[in-house]
């Protein structure tokens, strides 16, 4: 994994974790409109970044588009326990 991909993955991890925390907070605070707006902002950023990551490097998740039509890329890069 090159430095550029690693940096983008780290960014995805940070936004993803923010969403994980907001999600369970909102499960018990349904009407906190500030937190809902914050969740939505992170959700938009995450979706855009995940799409770019999957197109440029390798699919982020099992529903991601492959970087090209020629090759099945799910196993192109290492799995996260092998760095």
């Amino acid at each position: 994994m090159n430095a550029e991909q690693a940096a983008m993955l780290s960014n995805l991890q940070q936004i993803g974790l923010t969403m994980d925390d907001l999600r369970i907070y909102l499960d018990t605070h349904l009407y906190d409109d500030y937190a809902v707006a914050l969740f939505n902002k992170n959700a938009r950023d995450y979706a855009a970044l995940a799409r770019e990551y999957s197109r440029r490097f390798e699919p982020l998740n099992a529903t991601s588009e492959m970087p090209n039509d020629e090759e099945w890329a799910w196993g192109l890069g290492d799995f996260p326990w092998d760095f």
Binding site: Q13, G16, D20, I24, H29, L60, T63, P80, W81
Partner: protein, 189 residues
């Protein structure tokens, strides 16, 4: 259903080999208060939770516990993958007899995972209070593990996981209050 995402929830990069620590960490993989117990407990309770909001909460926390299971698995794997014969013998990492470098769902004392670690009562008060206790037991286990190592790359991850137990405890507590208020409302009106 679930969709796998090819990333850890929190980064793990352990370069030190330490099969002895792996033997201790495995308890949060397949021990009584480990992440497997947590994930299976919450995801299984979903079917009889009383409201869609509580179903959402146990779904979300149960899913996060699966991500924590992967984090613990990664730590155990990275601590043992480069261990040589001498290190394995010295640490008494006898898991290699049955499993090689593969992971297995056991506690630190070698007890295999069992469904008796978890309960399902079809009673949201009983279930949520069990969940709160489970989060505290997991937090205490992380405390114990943190007292056993000074490896900063391990401590950093354990500190993160311990914090998540505290957050989950808080969320389950809020859900419990809401469920109790919901029951009280029905009696009044």
């Amino acid at each position: 259903m679930w969709v796998y995402e090819k990333k850890l929830q929190y980064p793990v990069k352990i370069t030190n080999t330490n099969p002895r620590l792996a033997k201790q960490l495995i308890s949060q993989y397949g021990g009584p208060d480990g992440e497997l117990s947590a994930a299976l407990r919450y995801l299984n309770q979903r079917f009889t939770m009383p409201t869609n909001n509580t179903k959402g909460l146990v779904t979300d926390i149960g899913t996060e516990e699966l991500a924590h299971l992967e984090i613990i698995g990664t730590m155990v794997y990275q601590l043992t993958r480069d261990a040589d014969r001498e290190q394995i013998l010295e640490a008494g990492y006898d898991s290699v007899v049955d499993h090689g470098r593969g992971l297995f769902y056991v506690s630190a004392t070698g007890v295999p995972w069992t469904a008796t670690y978890i309960q399902a009562k079809d009673d949201p008060i009983a279930d949520l209070i069990e969940d709160m206790a489970a989060e505290q037991k997991a937090r205490a286990t992380y405390n114990h593990l943190m007292s056993l190592t000074d490896d900063p790359s391990v401590l950093d991850v354990l500190r993160f996981l311990r914090e998540r137990e505290i957050v989950h405890f808080q969320r389950f507590g809020e859900a419990l209050v809401q469920v109790q208020e919901n029951y009280a409302c029905k009696k009044v009106f």
